[in-house]
Structure formats: C-alpha cells, structure tokens
C-alpha cells in the first residue's frame, strides 16, 4: 500500500502544478472565459451543474456498461469459437480486421437509419468497438500456450476440451484482461460519440449542447467527468484482474 502511494504522488504533484499554472495563466493573461475557463471556474460550474451532470452521467454509464459487457462477451465467445473450430480462424480473422476499418463516423448514422434513435444502435456501435480488442487479445492468448505445457498435457492424455478449459483458457486470461482494459477506454469514448448521433440524454448530448451555447466551462466539467468515468472503469478491471489472475501468469497481461 505504501509503495502505491509513493507511485501515485509524482503524477498527482505534476497535475497540481499544471492546474496551478493554468489558473495563473488565465488570470494573468486575462483570457476570456468562453475561450479557456480557469480550473476554479470549471470547478464552480461543475458544482452548479452537478444535478444535470449526474443525470447525464447515469445515462452514459448505462450505455457504456451495457455495450461493454455485451461487446466483451461477444469478443470472448468469438475468440473461443475461432480457436476451437478448425479453419474458422483462417477464414474469419481477416474479415474481423476489416470490421475495424469501417469509420465509426460512418457506422453511427447507418445504424440510426437501420435501428432508429433508441438504445439499439448505440449498443450495437459499442459492441462493434469493444469486441475487437478482446477477440484479438484472447486469440493470441489461446494460441500462444507454452509448448512445454501443451506437450505435457498431451502426454498425460488430455482431451481437446480439457486442453481448452485447463490450459488454453487459463493461459489466455491475462491476455483477456489486456483486451478488457483497451475495450473499457474505447467504450466510454464510443458511448459519448453514440449519444451525439441520436437521443436526448447522456454526456455526449450535454457536451454538444454546451458547445453550441459557448459554455466552455460546462464542456470542461463534462470532460472531467468522462475522464473520471474511464478511470473508474479501468480501476474496476484492474481489481478484477488481481482477483482472477494468480501466479506468474499475472505479469504477462501488463
């Protein structure tokens, strides 16, 4: 615990210095608030806006979690299927990469045309964004089992399903967590984008409205919330990783 605090304080100190410099610059140079609000103004705005921000954050968090969970589950199942069905990886993997080359900017409006303005297109968008890093990381983990352990398991007569459940899957867990961490950051950003393409609530909508009204301080307050949200999600996955990954396997996922 003490070492964690020791590692935490240098970035915190830098952050405090940056914020102080920012505050000083805005005051000394007399920068307009709509161009760049000072941290104190942003703090005050965030406090005033807290109830509204809270409502929008709730909406964003809902979409993020739903999309993240569905996307992760899809990525997990897909990786397992591609690994277990002979020939499936060779056929589908290149197409998997292809899905990531469709710009999200194009995908969003298309999904709205197909599925309307409800929850559906947003969840689909998040699923598409989240499943990929998880599938790729999982597949790497599943196929890169230690050959020494693979040989041992074969020699003692492990069946294909025993190989999967007792060796390949546990070996892939740290890789899975690497994928989850990437997907978590993507999911928050994508949720905010998804909200701007349709709908009436969420931080994406809030940010869009703030920008239209030149309420730059509101915008910054929303950014702070988004960063916090991402960090919390990341931290949650980190804690889960600590709980699930045991032995030396843990160091591989870093």
């Amino acid at each position: 615990m003490a070492s964690k605090i020791r590692r935490l304080w240098p970035p915190l100190a830098v952050l405090v210095i940056v914020l102080a410099g920012w505050q000083g610059a805005v005051v000394l140079l007399g920068i307009n608030e709509y161009e760049l609000p000072s941290p104190l103004v942003i703090g005050a705005t965030a406090y005033e806006e807290a109830p509204r921000l809270f409502e929008h954050t709730k909406a964003t968090l809902g979409i993020t979690m739903l999309g993240f969970i569905i996307g992760s589950a899809a990525g997990f199942v897909l990786a397992a299927l591609l690994h277990l069905i002979p020939g499936a990886k060779a056929g589908f993997y290149p197409l998997l990469v292809l899905t990531q080359n469709v710009p999200v900017m194009a995908l969003g409006p298309l999904l709205v045309i197909w599925f309307g303005f409800g929850l559906m297109p947003k969840i689909i968008l998040l699923t598409i964004v989240c499943f990929f890093p998880i599938s790729v990381a999982m597949l790497t983990g599943l196929t890169k089992s230690d050959p020494k352990l693979l040989n041992y398991m074969s020699m003692i007569g492990a069946s294909k399903s025993q190989l999967f459940w007792r060796l390949e899957l546990p070996h892939a867990v740290p890789y899975l967590f690497s994928g989850l961490k990437i997907a978590a950051s993507y999911s928050v950003i994508s949720a905010i984008y998804a909200e701007t393409i349709g709908g009436s609530e969420g931080l994406g909508v809030y940010m869009r409205l703030s920008m239209r009204g030149w309420q730059t301080a509101n915008m910054f307050a929303a950014i702070a919330v988004v960063i916090t949200l991402s960090l919390v999600l990341f931290g949650l996955i980190f804690v889960l990783e600590r709980l699930f990954v045991r032995g030396t396997a843990g160091s591989k996922g870093e």
Binding site: K148, I156, G157, R166, P170, R246, G247
Partner: protein, 277 residues
C-alpha cells in the same frame, strides 16, 4: 512375470521433403520393462528419445512395430502412462496442490479422491508447507519434486520419466536422485527413465539399455547388480566405477579422423581458401 511395457521392433522414419532426405530416427527398437522394474534408456543427445516417448505416449505412431502396455497394444492411445517431463511443466496459475489434482483429474481420478491423495502425499514427502504456493516461488528442485509426485500419484501403472533432472544443477540433482530412489524403493512402480548421466542410471536402475546416436539402436542391455535399498555409498563401490567406465566406452564417440563427419570438418578447415566460391 507380467510385462509393464513391451516395445516390439519399433522404427520411426520421418519422410523427407524437397529440401531434406528421409531420416530414420528409431531403428527396430525392441525392449521391455517387467512389472515393478526400473529401466533406464541411456544414450547421447539426439538419439530419438523424445520420439520414442511420443510413440509410447500415443502422440505419434511408429513407422513399424508395436507398443504394448501390460499385454495390450496402445499405439496411438493417449493417457495410458504417467509422465514426468524434463521441465517441471506446472501450470503457473495453479497452486502446487491444484497442479497435482489437475493431473489426477485428467487421468480420471475422482476430484475428491485426488484432493485427499495430493494432500496426504505432499505431507508425506515434506512438501506440506508449499501446498498452497504458486510454482514460480519454488526452486527448480522443488518444482521437480512436485512434478515427480504428480506422476507417482497418477493411476497409470507405468511411469515415464524424461530426463527429469537434466535441467538441475549438479548438487540439486544428486539430492533429487537419492530422494527419488528412496520414494521409488518404497513404491516400486514400473519406470521407464531417460538420462544422459551414467552415474544416475547406475544409481537408480535395475536395468540399463544403452542406445546409439541416430538412428537409435540398442547397443547393449546391462543388469545393474547393486542390492536395494541403495544409497550414495555405491558411488565408492569399485564395481560402480568399473561399470561406469564400461558404459562410457560404449558411448564414446569415434576417434577424430575415423568418423566421416569429423573428417569432413577437418577438410573444411584445411581447404579454407577454396577457389570455388
């Protein structure tokens, strides 16, 4: 007496492809292990021992010949042997006890029985305090003890030990040999043991089968006469040293100049400024 293992005329030829010629790795190997006997295969590196293990383990099929365990042909059948590899091969995400239970579970032992058995034996061999530790905190020697215990507790009657101490330092290796010896002498499982070390073979085995380099053929079978239980004392037995010398002579590579490959190398050095280039 029933035979634990019969290897009958086993050959393995890897077919050549465009770039390489066909390679004979095992050439009509025939030997057996009696029930409760400790037999060592001793040979230079590259004498196809890994291939032989894969054939006995059912991972590969021989080009010709048969493998029988207790009279039953097991060609291509996996899971018929208890196995201890050269590297401990413990799952890094499982504790010591769980690693042992995994091997027993795959061998078809009931999970509850496996838990009781691993607990009891870890205690008996003095590994109780590392029962819940993860493998990476154990020394190489400790890992191999766990690996040996895992094979010993597996229900298959034949144990195949593939150079189990090859990766250990000399001192640990000697300690492991006497440790294994005392455990084995209490339990008398049928063992097929592979090693490069002549001393190790003489200390542990009832019988030694000396293999030639590739393709592997049997040069000689040697009965080891030392009475059991054995200990480090046999290292000072004059017979031990005589036998060591005899086996060493068998395995000695050909004198420089007489072997084709060595001669070729010598030529290569002499004719270095070759006009053909």
């Amino acid at each position: 007496m029933e035979l634990a293992l019969e290897v009958a005329g086993v050959s393995k030829i890897f077919p050549g492809d465009g770039s390489s010629a066909a390679r004979t790795v095992l050439d009509h190997l025939t030997f057996h292990i009696k029930d409760g006997e400790f037999v060592t295969l001793l040979g230079p590196s590259g004498s196809g021992k890994t291939t032989l293990f894969h054939i006995i383990g059912g991972l590969e099929k021989p080009s010709s010949g048969d493998v029988r365990l207790y009279g039953r042909s097991t060609l291509g059948k996996r899971g018929e042997i208890a196995y201890m590899p050269q590297q401990a091969s413990l799952m890094p995400w499982l504790t010591v006890a769980r690693n042992i239970e995994l091997a027993l579970d795959i061998a078809g032992v009931d999970r509850k029985a496996a838990r009781i058995l691993s607990r009891e034996w870890l205690e008996r061999v003095g590994l109780a305090e590392v029962r819940d530790a993860y493998p990476h905190v154990l020394s190489g020697g400790m890992q191999q003890r766990v690996s040996f215990l895992r094979a010993l507790l597996s229900p298959q009657p034949l144990m195949c030990l593939d150079e189990p101490f090859g990766a250990l330092d000399a001192l640990t290796r000697m300690q492991m040999q006497t440790w294994l010896l005392s455990l084995w002498e209490e339990n008398r499982r049928s063992v097929l043991f592979v090693t490069h070390s002549i001393e190790e073979a003489l200390l542990l085995s009832d019988r030694i089968i000396v293999l030639s380099a590739s393709p592997a053929t049997i040069i000689r079978e040697i009965e080891v006469p030392f009475p059991r239980p054995r200990g480090e004392m046999i290292w000072s037995d004059p017979l031990f040293n005589a036998m060591k010398r005899e086996i060493y002579e068998l395995l000695r590579p050909e004198e420089p100049g007489s072997g084709g490959r060595k001669e070729g190398q010598a030529h290569g050095i002499c004719q270095e400024p070759s006009p053909v280039g």
